[in-house]
């Protein structure tokens, strides 16, 4: 497994590890039950802080991508489609909130917005 840490990046190091491992799990490069390197080994190999590596693993575990067996290590969790769906729903809600905040400035009514969505869907179907 390759993990590239960039010191020049805006993103904190723990986020870089989190994103790269997450992407490998979603893409199927890492499968359910695969063992991840231990926190300490990964930190020492990448020459980064153990605390930072632990934070990345904690986030991955919190978000359901990996699980820890105490005294053994960390493993890739069963791909939880429910969790991923939840994440995407949250994204949709966020975009909708943006629409709601922009709409009044353009004097769009709720009906106008729904109409726009319908038209776009139709266009999409015709293509």
């Amino acid at each position: 497994m390759e993990i590239i840490i960039s010191n020049a990046s805006d993103k904190p190091i723990y986020e870089q590890i989190y994103t790269q491992i997450k992407n490998r799990i979603i893409s199927g490069e890492l499968n359910e039950g695969d063992a991840l390197p231990s926190i300490r080994a990964l930190a020492k190999d990448l020459r980064i802080s153990v605390i930072t590596t632990k934070r990345a693993y904690d986030e991955l575990e919190h978000d359901g991508f990996i699980y820890t067996v105490s005294a053994k290590g960390c493993y890739v969790a069963q791909k939880n489609t429910e969790i991923m769906r939840e994440g995407q729903l949250r994204q949709i809600e966020q975009h909708m909130r943006e629409i709601m905040s922009l709409a009044p400035a353009c004097r769009l009514s709720d009906e106008d917005i729904i109409e726009m969505l319908r038209i776009m869907q139709q266009e999409g179907n015709e293509r």
Binding site: I13, R40, K44, S49, V50
Partner: protein, 283 residues
């Protein structure tokens, strides 16, 4: 468990005072002591080893109070390298190994020989003919060869060339692969500390300005390069240090204090420390 725990440690001399130092080093991690010459780094290290008497406060090393009688046996588990390492002039590296074999219970002669080889140290040269770099390497080899759980290094990498410094940092990094191993090292080569430390403690004029996770520091602080007008608009509570010139203003800001909107440049530990030290002096 904490490998080192220091609480309100004080020590005063005629012309210098180390005041209210409190920090701890969790087992398995590396802490870097930073500070200008005479800031109190070496005094702190000597107090940890109980080589000098403290005035007040407590120091616990590997779970043992360093004033307790048991501390003598705890010292077996500590590898110390002070910035001035001295061995009797006529001894060679080989002789030093023989002496240490009778000094430490857990002396590992094989590891010592391997390190001497790795560091390219001559085995038959007398200590009085050693260069500064060779002296430090010999002291580090000794410190690592008696199976320590805690390494304490005072300016161990200064005076060494970048290549060998990098090798030594790698050895320190490997040393903490074992989660019961911890390191405290002081240095004014901040880039070395930035490479391997988990925590950074910054001592300035005998006081601890901060002890913080390294990555938190690097994410929390940023440097802005602004015009004077732009500088006026920065919220004062976010400003941690300022450098003004005729052409503009450089500002160290704390991101969480509300200046996320600014386009900040990535900063280094060295810059953070320089800004904070100057800001503290200006007070």
């Amino acid at each position: 468990m904490n490998a080192i725990e220091i609480n309100s440690l004080c020590k005063s001399y005629k012309d210098f005072e180390l005041k209210d130092i409190t920090f701890s080093l969790p087992q398995g991690s590396i802490i870097g002591l930073v500070g200008e010459n005479g800031a109190g780094k070496s005094t702190t290290i000597k107090l940890i080893m109980d080589a000098i008497e403290r005035d007040s406060g407590t120091v616990t090393v590997l779970g043992t109070d360093n004033k307790s009688p048991q501390f003598k046996s705890v010292k077996e588990d500590i590898g110390v390298v002070l910035d001035e390492a001295y061995y009797p002039e006529v001894l060679t590296a080989k002789n030093v190994g023989a002496v240490m074999k009778n000094t430490y219970k857990n002396w590992n002669a094989e590891q010592y020989d391997a390190l001497i080889k790795l560091f390219n140290l001559p085995t038959d040269k007398q200590f009085k003919d050693f260069s500064r770099g060779m002296t430090m390497k010999l002291a580090i080899a000794v410190a690592l060869s008696h199976a320590p759980k805690l390494l304490i290094l005072d300016e161990a990498t200064s005076g060494l060339d970048p290549m060998i410094r990098d090798e030594i940092l790698d050895i320190f990094n490997d040393f903490t692969r074992d989660e019961t191993h911890s390191i405290l090292l002081s240095s004014h080569i901040v880039s070395d500390l930035e490479k391997i430390c988990d925590y950074i403690a910054f001592i300035h004029k005998g006081r601890l300005l901060f002890c913080e996770e390294k990555d938190v520091l690097l994410n929390e602080y940023a440097i802005l390069k602004l015009t004077k007008a732009e500088f006026e608009a920065v919220p004062q509570r976010a400003v941690k240090g300022v450098k003004k010139s005729d052409y503009g203003v450089e500002v160290l800001v704390q991101k969480s204090a509300g200046s996320k909107a600014f386009k900040a440049e990535h900063t280094t530990l060295e810059e953070i420390i320089l800004f904070l030290a100057k800001g503290d002096d200006a007070k």
